[in-house]
């Protein structure tokens, strides 16, 4: 098995787990979103990796025979990036509204506030 050659997938796994861990462990709502972003970014790299051909060029039609990278995963991930941006924007907007309503973005303080009411 070629462990080193698959290094981009190791990066994917590392980023994915880091992001996931931040989402679970952090109590700060903004930091959670940072973790969520890392988590999503890892999937972007996964998709981009799978389209790569060794020595492949951009898929532009030409008379000389050439090896192309698969453009489809790249296009797919553009869509997923847009979705990710929208999610982050919405998450941050919610964090702002939560800050206005509770005066804090720390999860445990929010829970305390709710218990006091």
């Amino acid at each position: 098995m070629n462990w080193v050659g698959l290094y981009n997938y190791w990066i994917v796994i590392f980023l994915m787990m880091t992001g996931f861990y931040i989402v679970v462990s952090q109590g700060n709502l903004v930091k959670k979103l940072v973790g969520l972003n890392l988590f999503q970014t890892s999937v972007f790299i996964q998709y981009i990796s799978m389209g790569k051909m060794p020595g492949g060029t951009a898929p532009i039609e030409s008379s000389a025979p050439a090896v192309y990278s698969n453009p489809l995963p790249h296009v797919l991930i553009l869509t997923a990036i847009v979705v990710g941006v929208a999610t982050t924007a919405l998450g941050l907007a919610l964090a702002v509204r939560i800050k206005q309503a509770y005066g804090t973005v720390e999860e445990d303080r929010i829970r305390e506030e709710d218990r006091n009411v």
Partner: protein, 493 residues
């Protein structure tokens, strides 16, 4: 011309009307547009069902790009059945939302509210109709993002934290689905569902396929509130505006159940899902624990919306139980319960919305004696509650009957007993509401309220009576669900 393009119109119409709602800018105008569009969506769904029943599955190639390359929309029996219930619920909730939203949402946000409702509807309908795995992810996110916005518009500030929590868990679920779809593409080089199903056939031993399967099941499980991944659901349903609770509880989890069916049966195939991966070993125990524990939790809730939210988790578990049984009867039960539970929960949440409209709360102690002042609202609630319990002559009875039949076919007596026990638990928690509303006197210091206005009562009663009508005339639902189940199992024509 129109008839040939119905599958596209089903999704594109609500999708394009959403920005129009924002342009209209005023609450009432946006409401009128949204309502008309929801009715058109229902008409299209009904027309599609007729087409499918008459001539089999309808295939639609977007932009005339042939199937494995272009995005294909496929309406088969299962899809048409789910489209009908999603569009039907939307067509009753949208007219209802006029008064309810005027009471619960700021005037300057109302047009945006209807835009988000339409986006949510477009996403849900799209998920059901699409034949492309990546397109499914995109539409899933369209409906999910608009849902987070809708939940956050609730009056209570806890609606904000509920929406945030839903956003985090929903995004993790969607990303898991994205990873799964990516792995499938790496393995097969296609995203078309029918094409995927063909190419997966010879690859059952592939580790990549097994990983993709795991990611997809967990991701979809988060979306359908599969116990114990249901933590986002109770808060979201409790604090969302009434109309949103009704729409979500009746459609969002149901569509996720549909996605699970699509992946398990159509794409991965019965053999891989249940004989190689044994996913039923996970689905059945979780479903049994969920029905029991969530019904138990529901008994101790004092907020009626939260009670019904926990009950929803339990009811969705009945559907996954039906899927886990993996027989035609089990699948028929799952599909029937998907359809029927949408009618039941839709009616219950609409009735609660009418109560909230008048007294501004759905706490049990605030609802004491309310039945004397709002007899029609509470009568609709009782009718839907009977249906949830599964009293004969209601839709709830039909789906539970098939579920019990499916368990009996397998000889699982314990499961049958558990279904009966959890039904009795439903009696207990719903009785708490009925007792408070009917048998407690109205405290003297509460101001008198009148019956809910017609704009709220009419949609509520339409759904409540649908519970009764489809419980007696079961030809349509049982016929379509049975045929769809046979086709999913690969037995049908």
């Amino acid at each position: 011309m129109i008839a040939a393009n119905l599958p596209a119109l089903q999704v594109v119409l609500p999708l394009l009307s959403a920005p129009l709602c924002v342009l209209l800018g005023r609450g009432r105008a946006a409401w009128l547009l949204a309502t008309v569009v929801s009715w058109l969506a229902l008409a299209i769904a009904a027309a599609l069902l007729r087409q499918v029943l008459a001539q089999g599955a309808v295939h639609y190639a977007f932009g005339d790009w042939a199937a494995p390359w272009g995005i294909e929309y496929v309406v088969d029996g299962t899809a048409a059945f789910v489209l009908l219930i999603v569009a039907g619920i939307a067509a009753t909730v949208f007219p209802y939302s006029l008064l309810s939203v005027e009471k619960e949402v700021d005037p300057e946000r109302q047009a945006l509210f209807y835009a988000a409702m339409l986006l949510c509807l477009a996403g849900l309908l799209g998920i059901v109709i699409t034949g492309d795995a990546f397109n499914l992810f995109v539409l899933l996110e369209i409906s999910a993002l608009s849902t987070y916005t809708l939940v956050s518009l609730g009056q209570d500030r806890r609606a904000l934290t509920a929406a945030y929590q839903y956003l985090i868990l929903g995004t993790i679920g969607a990303t898991f689905i994205l990873i799964g779809v990516g792995l499938l593409y790496m393995l097969t080089g296609t995203l078309n569902m029918a094409d995927l199903a063909e190419r997966i056939e010879g690859l059952h031993q592939s580790r990549t396929l097994q990983t993709a399967f795991a990611f997809l099941v967990v991701g979809i499980g988060l979306k359908l509130a599969l116990f114990p991944m249901h933590l986002w659901l109770p808060n979201a349903y409790t604090y969302a505006p009434s109309a949103v609770s009704a729409l979500l509880s009746a459609t969002a989890t149901k569509v996720a159940v549909y996605v699970l069916l699509r992946f398990l049966f159509t794409i991965f195939g019965t053999w891989f899902s249940f004989s190689d991966m044994n996913v039923d070993w996970i689905l059945i125990p979780l479903a049994l624990v969920a029905t029991f524990s969530m019904s138990l939790v529901a008994i101790f809730q004092n907020n009626v919306k939260r009670m019904l939210a926990y009950s929803s988790v339990a009811q969705v578990a009945y559907m996954t139980l039906g899927i886990g049984i993996v027989t035609v009867t089990g699948l028929t039960a799952a599909l029937l319960h998907l359809f029927n539970h949408a009618l039941i929960k839709g009616a219950l949440f609409l009735a609660l919305g009418a109560v909230f409209y008048r007294i501004g709360s759905v706490q049990l102690d605030r609802m004491q004696g309310i039945a004397r002042e709002m007899p029609w609202t509470m009568a609709a609630f009782v009718l839907a509650a009977l249906s949830l319990i599964g009293v004969p002559m209601t839709v709830g009875f039909v789906s539970k009957w098939y579920l019990i039949l499916a368990a009996l076919e397998k000889g699982w007596w314990l499961v049958v007993v558990l279904i009966l026990i959890t039904s009795l638990m439903a009696v207990v928690y719903l009785w708490r509401v009925i007792e408070a509303a009917y048998f407690r006197p109205r405290p003297a210091d509460r101001e008198a309220v009148s019956e809910a206005p017609w704009g709220l009562l009419l949609p509520t009663w339409v759904l409540a009576l649908a519970n009764l009508y489809l419980g007696i005339d079961t030809d349509l639902s049982v016929g379509v669900a049975g045929e769809a189940a046979q086709r999913l199992m690969g037995l049908g024509p």
